[in-house]
């Protein structure tokens, strides 16, 4: 998959999919097919595509919540990291579009949800959860119930809950899709800051080209179908993530073409799956 991918050593691969296909009816109709994707340590990959194309499904395959009908998945599996009995972290964590907080737990309790069952004592769990809340700027809301939070705050708790299990791979399913534009922009900036601090490997699902270009180091386009496949990818090289710059607009035009399945309007060549 391109020269840049070949350069990645096996140790740096956090997760991979090889020729993955997914069917909900046992192989008659495929939602996704011939999808290959490798995520290298420290990357921020945006998985871009139109609504309903199967991005969330692909994310769930990576999370281990769904099993591919064909093809292989690689990298450490989900739940108590690497299957070690004394694990203190999980290899993968997920942020959902609808925050999905437990209404009966406080903010702190929600963040500690993923820590329960790990080999940590109570004070360690609490300290880890509080640290994650600090990272998302909600340390003062630890005792509040989710219903007392705004939509943006809820989403931050979801991010903290995922970060606190110290995952190798952070999977984010359109986490800011349901927020108002102002909250959305501020959370995007915050996510950028957190990513620069933690250097987590992130796969971020979105249908918003601008959001992908603001956040990612690499954008992978999932389109076409069904079955949908990866129609192209761009490694972003932008010093400044400003939508008004020519570089940003060129990238946006190329991504639009990839989504629509049209020829590349210019710039360097991009990889294209054989299937589409």
């Amino acid at each position: 998959m391109g020269s840049q991918m070949a350069a990645i050593s096996q140790a740096d691969v956090v997760a991979s999919l090889q020729d993955v296909g997914l069917s909900h009816d046992g192989g008659e109709h495929f939602v996704l097919r011939h999808v290959s994707l490798t995520l290298a340590r420290g990357e921020f990959v945006a998985l871009l595509g139109p609504s309903g194309v199967g991005k969330s499904t692909l994310l769930r395959v990576l999370m281990g919540l769904m099993h591919p009908t064909e093809g292989q998945t690689g990298g450490a599996a989900c739940a108590p990291a690497s299957g070690k009995a004394h694990a203190t972290r999980r290899s993968r964590a997920m942020v959902f579009q609808d925050a999905r907080l437990l209404p009966w737990r406080s903010v702190l309790g929600n963040v500690m949800f993923g820590l329960e069952g790990l080999h940590l004592n109570k004070s360690e769990k609490k300290a880890r959860a509080q640290e994650a809340l600090r990272l998302v700027g909600l340390e003062d809301a630890a005792d509040r119930l989710p219903r007392r939070l705004s939509g943006g705050q809820r989403q931050r708790v979801g991010v903290a809950r995922a970060l606190t299990v110290a995952p190798d791979l952070l999977l984010m399913d359109e986490p800011f899709g349901a927020l108002d534009p102002i909250t959305r922009t501020s959370l995007q900036e915050e996510l950028q800051r957190i990513w620069q601090q933690t250097h987590k490997t992130v796969l971020f699902v979105t249908h918003d080209i601008e959001e992908a270009l603001r956040l990612a180091t690499r954008v992978v386009v999932l389109a076409g179908g069904p079955p949908a496949g990866i129609t192209g990818e761009i490694i972003l090289d932008m010093p400044e993530r400003n939508p008004d710059t020519p570089a940003f607009r060129t990238y946006a035009a190329r991504l639009r073409a990839m989504i629509a399945g049209e020829p590349d309007p210019g710039g360097e060549a991009y990889w294209r799956s054989a299937e589409i």
Partner: protein, 254 residues
């Protein structure tokens, strides 16, 4: 009237309604509108109650019935809610039991009395059994539908964070998420339990129900009403106390 009444106004209205009810009742009996042999006057209830207390019957009946009630309530609630939760979570078990449930559900607690006598005799166990059965179904259905209506996305959340096992789902998701429905079932069962106390004691196990039957066979209607009111009071007390438990368990709710 679009504005909601305040709590104290409501309470006052309720008391006024009660006073009015007993006043009209007393007047109807005193004026001869209601024959006193058929309906006791409210003023006759106090002396009747005092007689029962002096004889020690009242206290003993309450203790006996409370014993049946609490035991039957506990057994019926735990088994009913427990099986309801399991059936709600496990489709296989749910399917297996569906026919049996449909068969047994319409049988009222009273209909089990012959078997209660046969199996347990005129004993605490027999009365407990009848109460437990009627409480069981209420809790079974309440817990079953509460678990069935748990948002499936919460199961996905549990799986994503390492709690996808049966035990993890049960304790991290199902129990807290279905607690409002389960608590509603327990509360309904609390009332149903008192209602079935009479049925459970009809056949002679001592208690409030048995005392009522004795009194009615002697046409001592005032004593019957005393025990009717006693039962209402006991129900009010248990419901009031349960209110605290419910509030504490569901303290996260608005």
């Amino acid at each position: 009237m679009s504005r909601k009444l305040s709590g104290s106004v409501r309470l006052g209205l309720g008391l006024a309604g009660l006073v009015l009810f007993f006043g009209l009742w007393e007047a109807a009996v005193q004026s001869g509108l209601l024959p006193s042999g058929m309906v006791p006057a409210p003023s006759a209830l106090g002396p009747a109650w005092l007689d029962e207390v002096r004889g020690g019957f009242w206290q003993q009946a309450i203790l006996d019935s409370l014993h049946h009630y609490l035991l039957g309530l506990f057994i019926g609630s735990v088994l009913g809610a427990g099986l309801g939760i399991l059936c709600g979570m496990l489709d296989l078990l749910d399917g297996l039991l569906e026919g049996i449930v449909r068969l047994l559900r319409p049988v009222p607690g009273l209909a089990w009395v012959p078997f209660a006598i046969l199996w347990f005799g005129l004993s605490t166990a027999g009365a407990t059994f009848v109460i437990a059965i009627s409480v069981f179904w209420i809790n079974f259905y309440a817990a079953h539908s509460a678990v069935k209506s748990v948002d499936p996305e919460l199961y996905e959340l549990a799986s994503a964070f390492g709690h996808g096992s049966f035990v993890g789902r049960l304790f991290k998701i199902v129990l807290p998420a279905s607690a409002p429905g389960i608590m509603a079932g327990l509360r309904t069962g609390l009332g149903q339990g008192w209602m079935s106390v009479v049925a459970a004691e009809l056949f002679g196990v001592p208690g409030i129900g048995a005392r009522m039957m004795q009194a009615s066979s002697l046409l001592a209607t005032d004593v019957v009403v005393v025990y009717m009111l006693t039962m209402a009071m006991l129900y009010a007390i248990t419901d009031f106390l349960f209110g605290f438990v419910r509030k504490w368990v569901l303290r996260w709710q608005p």
